[in-house]
Symmetry: C2
Subunit: 341 residues, 2 copies
């Protein structure tokens, strides 16, 4: 079930071996040893060494047909891109640098042809973009497409940025605009045919960009007191950061960087603040900064806005201050697979 | 979607958070830092450091309802045990020592009660047995039970034992007896009710024991020239070792350590050599030894027989020598998910 290093001969190869050989042939392999990978695809396991003075980040993510994507609506190359981007975002969320990944793939036999090729094209485009090498994985046959991606990253010893270290008085920031991915998902759900995957309104939903440079910079410069990525929506993820740190937060509706709608039919325009609060899949970074370091945070980083949206409080509540100045508890309405199946 | 370090408060927790908190509460946590785990469950990712002079082994394995187990036939604690044992076996197959693991779990909401508790009991019993700590994971809801386990191990720099280094003239060994797991699977398939999971004939199928001490010893003493584990059956895995090494092999049917049937009805007794050649899931080790080191290989190791079953050849064919002395090509009839769905 492991990936063979050399394409197997006709005699020895199982159907699984042949699929694995194609996956491997598509792999981006430049600078294997420079990326810390000393044995990749082809044995029982991969061998990995971080740079001296660095430690290893480990994370994994499901990406499942029906739950996370719809094969009839989502282009295969976007599924390939996003399964890696989601997992890599957890490395960004630690302030680390992704190095290699394992991919576990289950597909129906009807998806082993062109679908698989396009999927691999997207996966390998993402791998090149994030500097993250295919190191191995597992494959099997299933009626539905199932993916699990495990990413290995590295971070300088002791520099990883955690969720559990926010302190009362710290200012809460988010990168980018929130709700854009959810808006793209709604456009795709409402469309009866497969949409043009180059539509800019779909980019963040189909081809998310983990905020790697930003995470690295915050960690290297020790600018953030706590950091996580926004994968399930601000109203679900902010309570997690607060619970881990034993604190609360106050956020301001009018400060939240929400979607800017351009030329879209009126009936497709949901409330942008609702989208920003509860929409998942943005893969922006949520981080806290001590007041004394505020002046070191620019308004944008690499073209991505960094916006203060509130502050950390001692009282363990999450409070939303509306545009009218009214306080209300923030309802937790982001993504929960056991509520939104 | 990540595992919270502290059980979330009622206010902040999603249903997913509550399941994650239960998974975490069940975790075996002794000697976290001694095992190299510097940040476990509870953040965006885990942090891992191998001992100085060691490198990191990375591997992952699917374990899926319908494909790899049947919830109506397999006890939940055996599913928990085996999902980890399978992945840990790949670490044994490198001559390494397992340290920590990530588990990705998808379950129907009907399986979040007693089923999940029993599953976690088996998983954590295996974790303790293998000295392998839960470091994180991902969870979601699905109509079927899906598991993916990613194991991190370590091995002294340059000591990992590969598949690709067998040489002509080396003697081919296997540990244990082959076909026992397949025999157990057949008993379970033929039974109309759930069988007694303590039946010794089912042990190897339900609760396999990766050959960790043997793998470590072979690597530390540099006794094996190549090593892999038998997960898909000798007739599928031996060709993989040979393809990776660019060699062939000759094996002797009468030397293969096969199942010894005790008090079983006659109609349930398949041909033991067929079982040994094509049965999967044994998780025994297949290794090669240079002639000059043969005398250092004992007849058994820790109670597990080590049996020479043939030799590596320059001719790139896999030849089976029957009990009658006749030569035949070994048909590749082990586990292939794209042939045996």
């Amino acid at each position: 079930m492991k990936m063979p290093r050399k394409p197997p001969t006709k005699r020895s190869g199982t159907a699984e071996d042949e699929i694995l050989a194609r996956i491997h042939a598509s792999a981006f392999r430049s600078g294997i040893h420079k990326r810390g990978l000393y044995l990749g695809v082809g044995d029982d396991a991969a061998l990995w060494r971080p740079k001296p003075g660095f430690e290893t980040i480990l994370t994994c993510d499901w990406f499942l047909e029906g739950t996370h994507f719809l094969p009839e609506k989502h282009p295969p190359d976007a599924i390939g891109w996003k399964c890696l981007a989601r997992a890599v975002s957890d490395v960004a969320a630690m302030g680390g640098d992704p190095r290699c990944f394992l991919v576990s793939l289950a597909v129906p036999s009807t998806r082993t042809g062109r679908w698989l090729d396009e999927f691999l094209t997207g996966l390998q485009r993402a791998a090149r973009r994030f500097g993250c090498l295919l190191a191995g994985g597992d494959t099997t046959q299933r009626p539905q497409i199932l993916l699990n991606v495990m990413v290995v990253g590295e971070v300088r010893l002791g520099r990883a940025l955690l969720r559990s270290t926010a302190r009362p008085g710290d200012i809460l920031f988010t990168s980018g605009r929130l709700g854009e991915a959810e808006f793209g998902l709604r456009l795709i759900r409402q469309s009866h045919k497969r949409m043009n995957s180059r539509d800019p309104a779909l980019k963040k939903h189909l081809y998310p960009e983990p905020r790697l440079s930003l995470g690295l910079w915050l960690a290297e410069k020790r600018l953030a007191s706590a950091l996580m990525d926004l994968s399930d929506g601000l109203s679900t993820d902010l309570p997690r950061l607060c619970a881990a740190s034993g604190v609360g937060a106050r956020i301001y509706a009018e400060k939240i960087p929400a979607v800017r709608f351009s030329h879209r039919p009126k009936n497709l325009m949901p409330n942008p603040v609702e989208l920003a609060l509860h929409g998942g899949d943005d893969y922006e970074l949520l981080f806290t900064v001590q007041q004394s370091k505020l002046k070191e945070i620019p308004q944008s980083f690499g073209g991505i806005p960094l916006t203060p949206i509130g502050e950390i409080t001692q009282a363990r509540k999450i409070v939303l201050i509306g545009k009218d100045g009214k306080l209300s508890p923030l309802p937790n309405r982001g993504w929960d697979p056991f509520r939104n199946p």
